[in-house]
Structures are given as C-alpha cells and as structure tokens.
C-alpha cells in the first residue's frame, strides 16, 4: 500500500520536475542567437542592472541603433555587478557569450588572451579622440572602449588648509612628498581632527590596486616590469618600492590615516572626522552639496615621478563567438558617437572621454567645475598593467599592501609578492 503511494508520488514529482529542467536548459541555450545571412538579434550584456541611470543611457543608445536601421536588433540583458564577471566566465566556458558585452578595464587583456574578446577593427580614427585610459588594448590591438573614466583626487576644504597654512597645490605644482608629510603632521598635531587624512582602506576588491598602486608608481616602482611583462623583480621589490612601503606603513604608525576606515569614508570627511579624503571623483556631488565653494579637489602628491592616478573603468567590446561580427562592429561604431559619450558620462557623473562630449556635459566644459578631473586623468592617469596576468597581480598587490599597512616586514612582503607574481607569469608561459 505504502510503496504504491510513494511510487505514485515519485512519478508525479518526476513528471512535474522534467519540464522545469527542460525549461532551464532551453533558457540557457538561447542567450546569443542570430539569424544567418547577416542581420538578426545581437545580444548585449551589461553589468549595470543596479545602476538605473547608466542602464537608461545605454538603453537609449540601443533604441537609437535599432531605429536607425532594420538589419539588426540589439537586445540588452543587464546583470548585477557582483555576479557579472562570473556570468561571463561561465558563459564563455559554455560557448554562450553574447555578441556585445562590457568589461572592467583591467580585465580586458585577460579576456582578450582567453579568447573571449575579438579586436575592434577600423575604429582607430574614432578612438584616437578618446582618452587613452578608456581604450582597452592588448598586444597592440584595440579590444574595447569606454565612455568615461574616473579620477582619483584628494578632497579637502579651503578653509581648513588655510587655517593650517597649507599651500593649495595645482596640477603644475603639486605637493612634494615633504610638503604632504608636513601638512599631515601639522593637522595631526592640532588635534582638531580624528585623522588628517582618510585613504578609504575599508573599500575592498579592485579599489586597493586602483587607488594605491599609483602611489607606488609615483615613488618609481610598479606592479610589473612593463617592457616585457615577464617579471616584477626589481620594480615591485626594488628600493623605490621599499620607500613606498615604508611611507605607506608610516601613514598608520604616525596616525595620519586610520588603519581601517569607517564604512563610508566620505561621510566621515563630511562630518569633520578627517581633514582630507583620498577618493574617486564620485564623491564630488555629495561633498559639494555639503561644503559648497569651500571644497577643493587636489591632485595627489608627487613622490618623485610626478603625481599618478589610476585609469580605466568599464568598457565595451565584442565577443569572439558572435555569429554576426559585422553587425556587432556596426553597433560599436554607431555607439561611439560623441552624443552617446556625453549621455553616458552625464548619467554616471563621470569624466567624458572625448573633448567634444566634454563640451556637452555640464561642468566638464573647458573651465567648468569638473574640468579639473579631466585634466587629472589626461595628465596623471596610469592604466593597470596590460597583461593577462593582471587579475592575479591585483590579488597579490591587495594582500601585500594590506599586510604592509598592518606592519609586515616591507621587504619580505614585497619579495613574496614578486615571487608569487613571477611564478604565475611563468606557469602561464608568460601568456604567449
């Protein structure tokens, strides 16, 4: 009796479950489809499902493109940023990549090497007007372009700097290392702030190499030797890098910066806990609202090789297993127009990549209040190393910088990072 009931139950469950499983398979299989003989649907993936404004600005380009011709139809699928990279890697493994996709700048060489991305042909002229940090290159080929970049800056207040007699630095005359340290010391000794500077150590992930490797580069070190991208020996553990590490640790031991920042360092700055804030230009909107004209956005200090800031944000490319590469290329060319650069940059409040677009975005026109950010990017930006080994280098640098900040022996920590990075480059046959 009982066994019969269970058997029936099992059968029912099986029958009920089968369509579900089939439906799941069917859904997975339909992501990148395109009719033969040119034309059809081009699937497009983007990471900005959580960013309403950016998604809307991309959607507008797609709508315009779909309306401008009848051959192709681009279909946008938005993903949340946290799971976007995993989705792309999984789709690549299953050979189900979409035709058009966006990529975080530093990942471009890795994905190009892995065969995810196809080079963008015939766009050299258009892209020569783009800021170099917004064009993704690998082995002399262009694989992606972005509409905007973000700059790093030291946010402070004129009134505060004036009170402590600190000179307001300019692009032509940034702070020297000594000036910067003297300013930090003076503000710390006054006791008016919890900390003179906040470098946002509570941020995780890509922030660490993005924000702190430019400091290393300003000292004269780097993440890897960029002549052949084979080894980090001498650049990440040489005397310049050691100077950076010693200085970086001294920020904490001298009580210039908190070892671990609060959850929202910009809020701490606006509440008067810190006198200066090292952050991306995304803080401009809120800090201006709070302090009005008093707020200033300063270039980072020059530690010997000039001020440096990170470059490269989200960019767009086409995948190698797109069945209609011509259509995808057509979209890429269409979408690179200045009005779309302006539209996306405005929606994200980031730095537009072309001069013509900058003229159209409020604040970024020459002499506008945000023009200085564009100047920072033009003058100081260093892209992260263009090697497929970069994602590994990023994790190693993050861990090493955290260990140094926490008091690890600088030389030993840097040597270990070099050893690991070199071993990884070598085990991949230097990505040749």
């Amino acid at each position: 009796m009982i066994s019969r009931t269970i058997k029936r139950l099992a059968a029912t469950i099986l029958v009920a479950a089968t369509p579900l499983a089939l439906a799941a398979c069917a859904k997975g299989g339909s992501s990148a489809s395109s009719d033969s003989a040119g034309g059809g649907t081009l699937t497009m993936w983007t990471h900005n499902a959580g960013n309403k404004n950016e998604l809307a600005s991309i959607q507008k380009i797609v709508t315009d493109f779909n309306g401008s011709q009848t051959k192709y139809k681009v279909d946008v699928q938005a993903f949340p940023q946290d799971s976007y990279n995993q989705s792309v890697v999984a789709a690549a493994a299953a050979k189900k990549l979409p035709c058009i996709l966006d990529i975080d700048g530093p990942n471009v060489p890795n994905w190009a090497w892995a065969g995810y991305l196809a080079p963008l042909e015939g766009m050299d002229d258009t892209l020569s007007k783009f800021l170099p940090s917004t064009v993704g290159k690998y082995q002399d080929k262009i694989y992606s372009y972005g509409y905007y970049d973000v700059a790093l800056t030291i946010v402070s207040r004129k009134s505060v700097l004036k009170k402590y007699g600190v000179r307001i630095p300019t692009i032509e005359q940034p702070w020297t290392a000594e000036e910067f340290d003297a300013a930090l010391k003076k503000i710390r000794d006054s006791g008016d702030f919890d900390y003179p500077l906040d470098i946002a150590t509570s941020f995780t992930g890509e922030w660490w190499p993005y924000a702190y490797s430019p400091m290393l580069q300003s000292f004269g070190g780097d993440l890897i030797n960029r002549t052949d991208y084979k080894s980090a020996q001498g650049v990440l553990n040489g005397p310049e890098a050691l100077n950076w590490a010693t200085w970086f640790r001294s920020l904490v031991t001298e009580k210039y910066v908190p070892l671990k920042s609060g959850a929202d360092p910009a809020k701490d700055f606006m509440n008067g806990k810190s006198a200066m804030l090292y952050n991306g230009t995304w803080t401009a909107v809120d800090t201006r609202k709070k302090f009005g004209d008093d707020v200033v956005f300063l270039p980072p200090a020059d530690f010997g090789k000039g001020p440096k800031i990170g470059g490269g944000s989200w960019q767009w490319g086409i995948s190698q297993n797109c069945s209609d590469a011509a259509g995808a290329m057509e979209y890429m060319k269409f979408a690179a127009q200045d009005k779309y650069v302006a539209g996306v940059a405005e929606a994200t409040t980031n730095i537009p990549t072309t001069d013509a677009a900058a003229a159209q975005v409020k604040g970024y026109e020459p002499g506008g209040e945000n023009d200085v950010f564009r100047e920072f990017t033009k003058t100081f930006a260093v892209v992260r190393p263009e090697t497929p080994g970069y994602p590994f280098i990023a994790t190693e640098f993050t861990k090493t910088a955290q260990d140094i900040l926490n008091g690890a022996d600088p030389q030993k920590a840097l040597d270990q990072a070099v050893k690991n990075i070199d071993a990884n480059q070598e085990s991949n046959n230097y990505f040749e």
Partner: protein, 314 residues
C-alpha cells in the same frame, strides 16, 4: 504458549502480502528502493561525487579558470608549491586552533544553556527561542552585524569603556582577530547544539533522577552519574558536527577579515576559494582542497575510532 499467540499474526501478514501482490504490477521492492534513491542519488553524484573525483584529477594539473590553453599534467608541482607556502601553514594552524578551541567551548556553552532551559517554569519557551534565534539568522547577516560590534568605536568597546577598559581594534589586531571570530561563531551556532543537548536531556527518564535523589545524591552527583552518562550518544553527535563545521570555517572570514590582518584569520577553505576564484588557479586550489579532504577524513576517522573504543569498553 508463546507459539500459539505468535502464529496467527504471521499468517495474517503473509495472507495480506499475497493478496496485495498482483496489484503492485510485478515491481520488486528493489526497484522501488532504487526509484526512491534516485533523486538523492542524482544530486549526490552531480554535486558531490563528480566534483570530488574531478578534484583528484585537477590537483595534478595546471588547470586554470580562464585560459585558452588546455590543462596538462604537472605531477606533484602543486603540492610542493603548497607545502612551501607560508600562508598555507598559517591557514592550517588557524583552522586547527579554531577547531581545538571552539569544539569544547561551544559544546560546553550549549550544554550549560540546555540545562538552563530544561527547567520547568513559566516562560522557558521564550528563552529557548531567544537562544535559538541566531541559528536561523543567515551567517552573512550575523557577520555584518558583528563587524559593526567589533569596530574600534563599536558597541563592545563602548561597553568596555564604561568599565574603564580600552578595548582593542578586535578585527584589526592580529592577536585578537581569530579570538573575536571564535566568540562570534560560537554565539551564532550555540543555539543549534543547545537544542540537540536539550533533546538528549529529555530522553533521560525522570525515574532515574527520583531514584538518585532517594539515594541522597547531590545535584552535582546527579549530573555526573545520571545526566552525563545518559547524554553519551548526544555528545558524540555534537562532537562530530561541531568539528566538521569548525574545519569548514569560511563565511565569517570572507565577510569580516578576508584572512587578514597578516594572515591571522586565514583558513584552509578561505585560501582554497581565494586561489581558485580570485586568482584563477583551479589546479592549485584543487590541490589545497585535496589536502584539506585528507585532513578532515583523518580527523573524522580518528574521532570515530576513539568514540567506538569507549563504547565497546562500557
């Protein structure tokens, strides 16, 4: 006498069976058992057996998460690299410390709570619920909350300051970070083991306590000679489940410290996940997992052996 009362039911059962047999369409109980095994079996094979098998193969290759090159066999390279890696030994040491501290700490705390909520009084269900609440809260949420509690100017240090104690930066100091994680993990999981202890306590017959008190046993003697022997099976279950949970320590680390500061909270599972996903070294991560598998297997076998030995002696 026993035979006469015993026989009729047997024949009745047989009769019933033969009556029902034609209806079940010739399927043997074996087929039914297989069918019932199928859903669990498919899931186990897909998500457990195949990945474990793959680990054994991948650990000896240079497979990568993202690579245009096919993986090839590299012998024991991954293992020699692993055993020469300081972070691995630190992770292993942290994992062992975590397990060695939390197993007695958490099981004793759970037993204490179970004894407290085992009394018969009004409102005891309220306390049972309160102690159990952290268990039904997601570990991610609990970790985020304790992240705030442990901040240098967080709630815990504010309370300590009331007593004139200057609290440390719990998670930012290499000498307190692992301890802080242990306390928080025990707080989260203790309610679950309290319930297990409680169920064990309630299987001990009340007559035993009555007899003991008639014989003049003190509460301490009652606990040592009635309660504790009665909880033996529960104890073994709790020991094994806490140990396994302790070895797989990952979520708290990933959210609260990312293995830092200075590797003081890095664990073997955390290292494997970081190596396999953030650093894209699938083969190397498989080697870490394989070593971890061997360690957990050895500990489980040892525990089984020790607990079985005592059982035979009793």
């Amino acid at each position: 006498m026993s035979s006469t009362t015993y026989k009729p039911p047997v024949t009745a059962q047989v009769a019933e069976k033969t009556l029902h047999k034609p209806k079940s369409a010739g399927r043997s109980p074996g087929t039914v058992a297989l069918l019932m095994l199928l859903p669990a079996g498919v899931l186990m094979i897909t998500f457990l057996i195949i990945p474990i098998g793959l680990t054994f193969v991948l650990a000896f290759t240079n497979a990568r998460l993202i690579s245009p090159e096919p993986a090839h066999f590299i012998g024991l390279d991954n293992f020699s690299r692993l055993f020469g890696n300081d972070t691995f030994w630190k992770s292993l040491r942290n994992t062992v410390i975590f397990a060695v501290v939390i197993v007695p700490f958490q099981s004793a705390l759970a037993l204490g709570l179970a004894l407290l909520v085992n009394v018969k009084m009004r409102g005891v269900n309220f306390f049972r619920t309160v102690y159990f609440l952290p268990v039904v809260t997601s570990m991610v949420v609990v970790s985020m909350l304790w992240l705030f509690l442990y901040q240098p100017n967080g709630l815990i240090n504010a309370v300590l300051a009331k007593f004139g104690i200057q609290g440390p930066d719990w998670l930012g100091n290499p000498s307190t970070a692992l301890f802080a994680i242990i306390v928080m993990s025990a707080w989260q999981a203790v309610g679950f083991h309290m319930v297990i202890w409680l169920s064990g306590l309630q299987t001990i017959p009340g007559e035993l306590y009555e007899a003991a008190s008639l014989d003049g046993a003190s509460p301490v003697q009652q606990f040592l000679h009635v309660t504790w022997p009665g909880l033996r099976q529960t104890f073994i279950f709790i020991l094994i489940t806490i140990t396994i949970a302790a070895f797989s320590l990952f979520t708290q680390i990933n959210i609260m410290t990312q293995g830092g500061p200075l590797d003081s909270t890095s664990t073997v599972v955390f290292q494997a996940v970081r190596t396999g996903f953030a650093q894209q070294q699938t083969g190397y991560a498989a080697a870490i997992s394989l070593v971890f598998f061997v360690i957990v297997l050895a500990v489980s076998l040892l525990q089984r052996y020790l607990t079985r030995e005592k059982e035979a002696g009793r």
